[in-house]
Symmetry: C2
DNA sequence: CCACGATACGGAGGCTTGCTCCGTTTTAAT
DNA sequence: ATTAAAACGGAGCAAGCCTCCGTATCGTGG
């Protein structure tokens, strides 16, 4: 696993991080990845410890909750996902759609992950942060170009994406469902009256406001 | 002579349903409702049995899995939900939106229910069936009137609704999120170019096809 | 190189819950 | 009242979670 540099804090008076700590953390992450892959995110944590060849106490010292372990075991991939998205070509809307699809793919990395994915996205881990910010960038770009309604927030959109992940994971029978649901989401983001070719990149926020007001 | 009573029953060779069976089933459902309300759907089933004043074995005989109990404990409400929707006034799209919101509300009846709600909706129970059919009716009406794209399936839409329930349940901080997410879903259902005011009753599936194809 | 204090390790053990199995009890029919 | 089918109850075992504390390991200063 990656050589994870120490976190931020490092006061002169503190000792160096012990080597066994780093090693065990890496072993645990590796074991968690393999166990979660095989048995899903509800797998026994004792099994993870066993496979990492450390005691269960060590596991809990490193990762006080199952969620903490899960987040840590997802984070590298999430970080990579955020970085790759910078290469997406095509219209802003296309890029958004691809980004969403990648997230949904990621959320099916482990069986049962989708259900916890909303929590993962709120954990504040590096990968989570990077993904949120990348989503925000793509969304705001699309909004600036008038391709997406301006009153949409990245939080809601990511919540919807997490929701789609769950919906997709609960019906394994239909492979294409993910694509259809993402498309539904994206369609829902667009301004109601077609962005006829007049959508010029230059203009700052073309307020094409959906006339639909809730409350009826 | 043999089986006088049995005349009322389909198969002559079957005995009447024992009274304790009915009583215990009712007690269990009542207890389940109260325990799930207090402690969420992950509550201990032994607690349910205890509160119903039956043995744990009896609980498992009546409801072999937690899911079976949960479905049974939801079904009345689901049935009612399906029936109430017939009164919804307003445009087809408005009625759909309200219907979705009611479903999401229902899915938050017990803490943790949202996560299992997709499964509940596939259980084939009477309430589940009624809800699905009512959703289908509302959707197809909207589609006939050109208010919703014709290539949308009720299964996808219900899957999304269940997923929104989960997303909403995971961020309790924001009360209005449900409304916004449902609105996003509904917006995604509508044809891309505003609904021409003329509601066409005759035409079967109108082909206002969104030309968006995946791939590329 | 060694001694030592700080830190981390390991896993036994206590607890909760799930679920099964089978001797006992209740029920409906005769 | 008798009887056999059906349902009941709960002991008991398996599995998992998480804590606690005696023991082992590490980095450092002498």
């Amino acid at each position: 696993m990656r050589n994870r540099r120490a976190l931020l804090i490092e006061t002169p008076t503190e000792r160096a991080v012990r080597s066994d700590v780093q090693r065990n953390r890496a072993l645990l992450l590796e074991a968690a990845a393999s166990v979660f892959s095989e048995r899903g995110v509800d797998a026994s944590l004792e099994e993870v410890a066993r496979r990492a060849k450390v005691g269960i106490g060590t596991l809990y010292r490193h990762f006080p909750t199952r969620e903490a372990l899960l987040v840590a075991a997802c984070d590298d991939r999430l970080l990579a996902l955020a970085q790759q998205s910078r290469d997406y070509a095509g219209t802003p809307v296309r890029a958004l759609a691809r980004f969403f699809e990648r997230i949904v793919d990621h959320a099916s990395m482990y069986r049962g992950l989708a259900e916890s994915f909303g929590m993962v996205l709120q954990s504040g881990s590096p990968g989570c942060h990077a993904t949120t910010e990348e989503g925000r960038r793509l969304l705001e770009r699309a909004q600036r170009e008038g391709e997406v309604k301006s009153d949409i927030s990245i939080d809601d959109v990511l919540a919807m994406t997490a929701a789609i992940s769950i919906a997709a994971s609960q019906s394994a029978d239909d492979e294409k469902r993910i694509g259809r649901l993402v498309q539904m989401l994206v369609d829902g983001l667009r301004p109601r009256l077609g962005p006829s070719a007049s959508a010029k990149p230059g203009g700052g926020g073309k307020r094409v406001i959906s006339r639909r007001t809730r409350g009826g």
